[in-house]
Symmetry: D2
Subunit: 507 residues, 4 copies
């Protein structure tokens, strides 16, 4: 490992421990970059400074300091770098006090000499001093930390997660619509059930993904901040202004959010918990779709297939492999990130006006945005490039026909007046099966007798069933003779759902 | 263990394996009974039959069978017992087909001779036969199971959870209001922070518990049913009626709920997941309050105490113990039930038009209602019987005064014009501390110097601080001289929050 | 719901809330009964009394009281019923003090008149009084509770879980051996990989289930008790005997377990956590096997099938359905119970010499035994009744042959001297594929070209590959011509694993 | 955010998303560096190449290629950089094939021109070509990935986790020994229980941390590798050597580990799960100790205090604050990482010969090493710098005395012959309490009556108790008169435990 340190820029990446910051940073560079701009430590410091500035400006509007001083402060804050803050924190061991001190250094002209900075020179002493006195005055660290977190989580959702998730809904909707009429066999318990269309099996996800997306957006937009001091009841701010809760609302409105109706040292944790739930349950729906696509790609089913690059290698030893690895990846992200809700739930509990036992745990919350955005991207790519084998779908539907007919047969017999149709059809099915059965260790595969009319044939010559069958209308007989006619409202409802979500999301 | 079986009625309880059905059934009999009426297997069967009947009635309204037949069926369904259903299931190994067969037996007069039944005799053959033909016709089991679950979960919430949780909010609100002015010391990190009132520390919970309650109610009332057949696209129902989705809406409206906008064989799982989240996060708030009350009962703090029965034993070996066991129990319920959200999240994933891998897991969901209702009851009893030691609160506040004054001192110095007040006060505090410090292995306890004015005294003779102090107004000095004046908006905001929730919940 | 209460014995079951105590009590009556004898509240009380008696006997051996008094006490303890204990607890609100008082009542002849009791009459006053003085003297409740839990968990494992799990290993081993030579296609990513035997796919589970079983047994046998008093350092017992830790060892040895090397009020929680981990990870292996069996039963694969009763109903609406519901159930138990490890981990944390925040949570731990034993039973039944379709397995293997040959072709080409065999074969595979491809929306299904020699044929006329192929030995060519020869050591290793576990578990 | 990109080296850190790779990389640089050397992507690639080389060397020993060729390969492998591998993977989308291709480039002299590389020039064509043919031949990616993971996890444990955890045990042992005689009050339910020594409260953690450490070591040393091919039964390797399982053992022994007794495409997942459990449950013990230290630092208790730097800032607004933030951090790490066991449990399930749904989830497993090592470091620093206030401990013990005496009084009365001592003392305690009680809203604080002999005094003039008290020996009376004599075996057992772990860990 002696060579660690040789490669300057790249080194940092490959030396990182979190896969987010090495593997996925490489593989999903654009996503990583966008998230970094909201969620990195660098970004965090900028968001925190925005809160500090918004507060000082509100104090200036109330006349506690001059507007000019507030703007001088804003200017200094913009020049603060994370490097300075961390250097200061190494000394004070307090992150927000370090932030304040870093601004102070810029105002006092003591910041490390960078080109622009030196040019600017130290600010006018008087205004700078006034600015410094009011910087963070009356706030507690968590006013800044929790408010900044709300802001960056909201931005991360709006800028990074929302557009990707929305495009995922769009892609699934497009495919659902295109395949709204494609006959396929429905599967329950992994067994052939009754006919659907392939589009119908996707419409489910248009609806569920769309609903979760709106739920997540609502939660992201309902994140709250606080400007309420050390224990939430404005002790210090009361010394500065007569209307601390109006001030709180005003500062937060300026930043684009609302205050928590109650705070201790921290914002009530349920707003973040609701967002966590929406993200994690959304990831669950993506994992469900990924699982369905994985299984439809099984060699024996092979109704769909992920696109595969010409240069791509499926296996290091089995050159023929074409694995559904993107779908697998989405499921895997769910396994990695869903359990993190328990951290969120555990962080609901904070003793008295707060303990700090969320100091490390809350720092990992932003990784949820990565998980959801990455899963959405990956799944969208799968859906957009999905190869659909309509013939395979039809073949499976036809394979299923001999037994599928059991349901409409039972319904129509009952409707026609048969006194115990379910039992009658159950017996007919067993009879049709044993007619096909062959000797051997095991049962016979479902394709052994491809005659789609096996059960129906059995029924037509069954003394119990035949009289009732005779009463069916031609249209009813059609359903029994070709299961393609037995697809319910699959196509119509698919199109209705697609239309609903196109409208809801402006697709 | 040879005597198991001797005691008839009691035996069943003490032989049970789940603590819900032995220990808590005894200890919380009324709660258990109410939950049993919604959530037991007996109740489940009744709810499922309600769905079957509502469906047949809708078919009757459309003329597929006579209204009389539908009512004959309803009548038979009312007489079905779980014992019959289970006996039938032992044969068919299918629970809903067993249900249907049990109704059939009552209609055919073959049900086991019970007084009322024999009296009624078998129903008129024709109407009975017609009823039987349409019973469950076109439905899949999960139409009945999922819809019945939505109904009983909604009932369990409305009838059992809501009133208890609401009473909990009421009790906390009452106590918060009564103690809205009671001076107390705020605590962050378990350390004295700045003054609050005891009511303020409860107002937090009024707000958080109230919000979660409304969230849970919204989720409970948004549970959905389905009448959409084997794979959700109405294949079978289409053979009976031309408007299957209208029929679905109508049947469900009759039962008091709405359809899932999309179903496969099952209702989209997110509605139950949202309820799970609301319940579990509500339980988290209860656990947080319980933790606070536990700690306030620590021997060294002893600001509050759970009521204690005259006959009650605290410890089997330490006769003097008075343990906060109800608060502990609430925390423990959270530890037991919060992780079950993992099951709920895992059950979001069901392959294709469903797999059955939620067969056992979903059956444990109802236990969440027990957990939340029991925690609410227990916590309410703690809050209602809470002994509050206002003198201890005041004593701790006065103990904290010497150091607490640091915050207002810093704020006022800065406001008065001191250029670096935070650092100045940090130094003054250390100086005041070292003045009190005594030799020994460790630091000196905070009560060593009870003089509330230590830091202030230090400041008044500090050449750096004194000039700025001289500029303070009398009112500002008051705050520094007696921390009781430094309680921010604790009392006002407490009363505002209490009023808000009184109105919101009609308390 | 008016009829609740009518059916005496049955009522209790159907009114229960936990599915363990209604549904599974019915469906798995023998298992439920056996577990109840270790884990019910009735059983718990008996186990706790065993601890109390073992302690008093040890005191008697040291001469603090007469052996006769100790036996009188043992006799009285045997007559205590849970009903009495609960009645007493309703008064004292302390469960162990209630237990002690219940024994007292029997000794004093004040117990409720039951036949046997009255006959016995009150015991001789002197011996009874002496016995009473020493009952529980020096113990804390948790000495009794934690020790009793260790005993009953050990018994539940040894008597209920171990035999079922062992029989499961046996069944899987039998099937693995029987099918050790059965050719099948291996699957990775749900895609055809290279050949295995069906037995090989089961040998994996023989090994993993066997290992976990031994791990669970080791953990169950390493559960610990304590006889160490209120805070673990024998304060009270020191007043009675000079060698409290020897006494602790002796009492526990008498009961068949060892002491925790350190206790506070409670046994160190890691022993139970280790058992929890072994059970949960064992359940995970069962769920994995269940998943494999579920997927092998998919309609399109249909290589195996769960046995199906002649009367059994697969679907309430689709009379043809044969669902893998037992395998699904096992997976579902895993989803329900795996998350409970979170509770176990959370219960590791207990403040100072203990808090009681495990009061409710630890009471649910016994349900884990149900989950594992039930899953083992269910899975064993599936395996024992499994219908194996060897022809389907062979058919899939042959379907896979054209592409499967890629791996040995690459290996043999490289070995023969081809300089870049992996890349060469990857290209040959793509060529063979595009030769089969047909126009259409999607790719062509894998069965389109059933010629097993497609890739090989391509290779034989490929100028790059052919020369190297010419160098292969006849045996090497054989592997390429029939993939049945390419099964590695599947059969041998299967038999070796089966033999190893037969020996290890004495099967 | 326009300035992202300006600062070259630092930028990468502050742009990272994972707190491990920005915040903790800064704050715990040494730990981060050591972990990076085992767990980074750079390290992973080196470990994977070690596996490839070990395999080729084993083939060379069997004569399939020359030893010289194998060493040429080893040489080329050492020159591979992660940058090259990732560039290749971007093309092939397969990480292990990319690795192989990167080595190929070095052998063929096509690697990007770096100084040393160009100097070396391309290797002799013949040997290089031979080497290339056997590189990875017969292996599947997961042979390399899983084996490399086992190796680096073992190294990460041995090199990074073990020494830190061991030092933690040492520090706690040292403190426990030093404080083995320090009188303190035991606490159960947060209430004063009976006396202990402070050392005793730490001995618990010496034992529990020591046991978990050995458990984790055993699990780390029991991690397994595999050299068994695509589905675990050596299909490809069989074509090269006649003894594939011996080869597997040999290659792995060369690397220092053993094979999994059964593999599919992957190693049986339980070995990693056992390590996960040991790490997570060890972290749980650390969190428990951290919680205890947090609470002992509460302002009202203040028996211990974390060391505090002279420059350190406790609060950005409350200059007087001294928060137990390191202890809080340890608890928080537990909340963040404990839930990840569910990912580990979920990854036990892999369909058939494997699915890839652990592709992302398993990549986060290494972060557990960070969590445990960081928590151990942090906690050790707390323990080593802990300020212990023995006077405060004694003061609390004396405060507790009046009620604490209840237990020995009850024991001694019973031993002396009192027929119902527990009840007698319970009543005496209530009487002593009501004697102290004062009017007010709440009960009276425990310090109201500091007379240590209150209950004893009450007993001495109680007609029921006094006669029995008269029988006590002087030594017995001593215990009642001064609770310092009622510390059980706390000191002796503390020293015994410390000695045991000094020996076990060679401290």
């Amino acid at each position: 490992m002696e060579d660690i340190g040789q490669h300057s820029a790249g080194m940092d990446i490959f030396a990182n421990i979190s896969p987010i910051d090495h593997r996925y940073r490489q593989a999903e560079a654009q996503l990583w970059q966008e998230l970094s701009e909201c969620l990195s430590e660098r970004a965090l410091i900028h968001y925190q400074l925005r809160v500090e500035i918004a507060y000082v400006r509100a104090l200036a509007r109330r006349g506690l300091l001059s507007q000019q001083s507030a703007e001088i402060l804003a200017d200094a804050a913009r020049r603060v770098t994370p490097e300075e803050v961390y250097a200061e924190e190494a000394r004070t061991q307090h992150n927000i006090r370090a932030l304040v001190n870093a601004v102070r250094r810029h105002l006092e002209g003591r910041a490390p000499a960078a080109g622009a900075d030196t040019a600017a020179g130290p600010v006018a002493p008087a205004a700078g001093a006034e600015a410094l006195r009011f910087l963070h005055l009356g706030l507690t660290s968590m006013d800044v930390v929790d408010t900044a977190n709300a802001l960056r989580y909201k931005d991360a959702f709006d800028r990074v997660v929302w557009p990707r998730w929305r495009r995922l809904v769009e892609s699934v909707a497009n495919l659902a619509e295109r395949e709204s009429d494609t006959p396929a066999i429905g599967r329950t318990h992994g067994q052939y059930a009754v006919p659907i269309t392939f589009g119908w099996s996707l419409a489910e996800y248009v609806q569920r993904l769309g609903e979760r997306l709106l739920k997540a957006q609502a939660a992201a937009h309902d994140l709250r901040g606080k400007i309420a001091g050390a224990v939430g009841c404005y002790n210090a701010i009361c010394l500065l202004v007569p209307d601390p809760d109006q001030l709180e609302e005003e500062v937060l409105a300026d930043l684009g959010i609302r205050p928590s109706p109650v705070s201790t040292q921290i914002v009530a944790p349920e707003y973040v918990a609701d967002l966590g739930h929406a993200l994690v349950s959304g990831l669950g729906v993506m994992a469900n779709l990924a699982d369905d696509l994985r299984h439809l790609q099984r060699s024996e089913i092979a109704e769909v297939r992920e696109a595969f690059g010409a240069q791509q290698v499926g296996s290091s030893t089995m050159p023929h492999k074409r694995n559904p690895w993107n779908s697998e990846h989405v499921k895997s992200l769910w396994k990695a990130f869903m359990p993190r809700m328990f951290t969120v739930y555990a962080d609901q509990i904070s003793e008295h006006q707060r303990d700090l036992t969320n100091s490390a745990s809350a720092r990992f919350f932003p990784e949820l945005f990565f998980a959801v955005a990455s899963a959405a991207d990956r799944l969208r790519a799968v859906v957009e490039g999905l190869q659909v084998d309509r013939e395979a779908m039809l073949r499976h539907l036809r394979e299923a026909a001999p037994s599928v007919v059991a349901e409409p047969l039972y319904i129509l017999l009952a409707q026609a007046g048969h006194p115990n149709a379910h039992e009658a059809v159950r017996r007919l099915t067993l009879a049709a099966e044993s007619a096909r059965a062959q000797p051997g260790v095991a049962g016979t595969p479902p394709t052994a007798d491809p005659a789609p009319g096996a059960v129906l044939a059995q029924a037509l010559c069954d003394p119990d069933a035949a009289p009732w069958l005779a009463r069916l209308t031609p249209h009813q007989r059609e359903v029994l003779e070709d299961v393609l006619h037995y697809r319910g409202r699959a196509a119509e409802k698919t199109r209705r759902i697609v239309a609903r979500w196109r409208e809801a999301l402006g697709l």
